[in-house]
């Protein structure tokens, strides 16, 4: 009785504080981000061109973007993102799982140095990453072609960025390079939470280190892997800087926006192109919700799959 009364008194006394502490975040989030998200939906209902009047035109934009016969780009970006993720994620996660086998070993010291080194590409400015890779994989002057020629692996330069699948592989490779370090970070910190007793018990039962890692430690961190897949996919839809710069101005000259045959066009690139280059703000806004629809459907499905398995 005594206790509850004091907490109640305390609660009353400090009532304003939590609201004031919360206010900066919630006010700015609602005023800027949430409002903009809502108003984007409204702009999607208009024919706004960025300057003139916003004329209400109903759901035309929202219907038009799914009419793939006249404008297949939304479908293309969806396919591109899936292909890029299919090319990059198994490799990136595979490398991380492989490396974490060594990182989680108790006998190796100074392992945090490696974790830091692997994470460095994730820090690099995506604009610079895109530019750097456009130079590395350039047709006439690229470092990779020069190395392959010098090693005698190829006889003629490979036009990496000039073909539909070539540029997808380069961009997928870029994504693996830029993101496997953070996967290592997430995986290794989740692995360090696997109780030692569980691992020791497996050893006593006669399981080797590889077997223990594969069947004891990895299932525990399955959720982390699913988290990485979902965030990677959402990031893939919104990717912009690196693919734009990758094709903008290599030493052998620029390539079309989004790569040959728009093979690397992402959703965000499409939205930017429609809204801010072609000045079709209304259609660009509708496309933003197209992106949101795919993101939501994807997250929902993967979460459903995740809970189903357990």
């Amino acid at each position: 009785m005594e206790g509850t009364r004091t907490t109640q008194r305390k609660r009353r006394k400090f009532r304003a504080a939590p609201y004031l502490f919360c206010a900066p975040f919630f006010v700015t989030y609602i005023v800027f981000t949430l409002f903009a998200m809502g108003f984007t939906f409204y702009i999607g209902l208009t024919d706004w061109n960025g300057f003139g009047e916003m004329n209400y035109i109903g759901f035309d934009n929202y219907i038009r973007m799914f009419d793939f016969a006249t404008d297949p780009r939304l479908l293309e970006t969806l396919i591109n993102t899936f292909l890029l993720m299919l090319l990059s994620m198994p490799i990136g996660i595979g490398i991380a799982v492989f490396l974490c086998f060594f990182i989680q070993k108790k006998s190796l010291k100074k392992k945090h140095v490696f974790r830091i080194l692997y994470y460095l590409p994730a820090l690099m400015t995506p604009v610079a990453v895109g530019l750097l890779w456009s130079i590395l994989f350039d047709y006439d002057n690229g470092t990779i072609n020069k190395i392959l020629l010098a090693l005698g692996i190829i006889q003629d330069n490979i036009y990496f960025l000039g073909t539909k699948w070539g540029c997808r592989f380069v961009l997928a490779f870029l994504l693996v390079w830029a993101s496997f370090g953070s996967t290592v970070l997430f995986l290794s910190s989740a692995l360090s939470n696997v109780p030692d007793e569980v691992i020791e018990a497996a050893y006593i039962d006669g399981a080797g280190p590889v077997r223990t890692y594969w069947s004891i430690s990895l299932p525990v961190i399955r959720d982390v892997i699913i988290f990485i897949v979902i965030t990677g996919m959402i990031g893939g839809f919104q990717m912009y800087d690196a693919p734009v710069l990758l094709f903008s101005s290599g030493p052998s000259g620029g390539l079309p926006y989004g790569g040959p045959n728009r093979a690397c066009l992402t959703m965000m690139m499409l939205i930017y192109d429609e809204a801010f280059n072609a000045m079709h703000y209304g259609y660009g806004a509708a496309l933003s919700y197209g992106m949101f629809l795919f993101v939501a459907a994807f997250s929902f499905t993967s979460m459903k799959l995740m809970t189903k398995k357990e």
């Binding site: 400090f14 800027f32 809502g38 006998s107 530019l131 350039d138």
Partner: protein, 276 residues
């Protein structure tokens, strides 16, 4: 004896694999740094695997192109944005984790729900909004909205739950500690690992942001590093080697900052959101 040798082999293989991957990860960085020190005319004639003599001339040209103006501009955005993100996230996270108040549950669900909204969903209207605010060609659009970082608040609330001991807060309260002092002097030190990690991510994100500044900043004198790098070649006829040196230099502050905070960064990730 045999067991000792086996352990040694295990160790060698382990270090060997980890080093091999580290070297391949760093290789593009290395090539980039090397290319920035060569004269442009010879940059693509052959494969350069070692540093050239042109570092200073390239740097000189970079300075002449006004590159370090972009650098200062980026700092002017990234520093206040980072501080505000950390403050609002720590305050919000602390309040959600440690206070029992009406609406707490609703706000918590709100944060959790908005976490799933893709950040760029509102871009089109955001540009319209910045026009209404008269914030085009200013840095405000990157500084003020930085306080609304859902990920930061969520992360800090998860971290605060376990990192801040209730007993210390209670005894401080008994001693008549005010709410502001409580937050800054007692709670903040416990939150520091996560705040530093969040601060690093916020700084890197703001520094690297290309999309937003490109839509808002129209004057060349206001450009940030990423826009500077992206427009350098096409607009101002800056040579490739100079541009590559600029890319190397753009990465430096991030590397220095990461080196200084990496321990906290890893701790902040390990101890926080992904524990359970």
């Amino acid at each position: 004896m045999a067991k000792g040798r086996r352990q040694l082999v295990d160790k060698l293989v382990g270090y060997g694999v980890l080093t091999l991957f580290a070297v391949s990860t760093l290789f593009p960085f290395y090539i980039m740094t090397v290319m920035g020190t060569h004269v442009n005319a010879q940059l693509f004639l052959k494969l350069h695997l070692w540093f050239g003599q042109q570092f200073l001339p390239n740097l000189n040209m970079l300075i002449k192109s006004g590159y370090f103006r972009y650098f200062a501009n980026s700092l002017m955005i990234a520093v206040p944005a980072t501080i505000l993100t950390c403050l609002s996230s720590a305050m919000g996270g602390y309040a959600l984790a440690k206070f029992d108040f009406r609406g707490r549950k609703f706000l918590m669900n709100f944060v959790f729900f908005t976490l799933m909204l893709p950040g760029s969903l509102g871009t089109v209207a955001w540009v319209w909004q910045m026009k209404q605010f008269n914030w085009i060609n200013t840095y405000w659009p990157f500084i003020i909205p930085a306080m609304g970082n859902t990920y930061g608040v969520f992360w800090l609330s998860q971290f605060a739950k376990s990192a801040v001991p209730k007993e210390i807060m209670e005894s401080a309260r008994v001693d008549g500690c005010g709410e502001l002092r409580m937050f800054f002097q007692i709670v903040m030190p416990f939150l520091m690992p996560a705040v530093i990690a969040l601060g690093l991510l916020a700084f890197v994100g703001t520094w690297n942001n290309y999309f937003g500044p490109m839509l808002i900043l129209k004057d060349r004198s206001l450009y940030t590093v990423p826009i500077g790098l992206a427009t350098m070649g096409s607009l101002f006829r800056v040579e490739y080697s100079t541009r590559i040196l600029g890319m190397t230099i753009a990465t430096l502050p991030l590397l220095v900052l990461f080196a200084a905070t990496s321990k906290h960064f890893i701790m902040g990730i390990t101890g926080g959101a992904l524990k359970g």
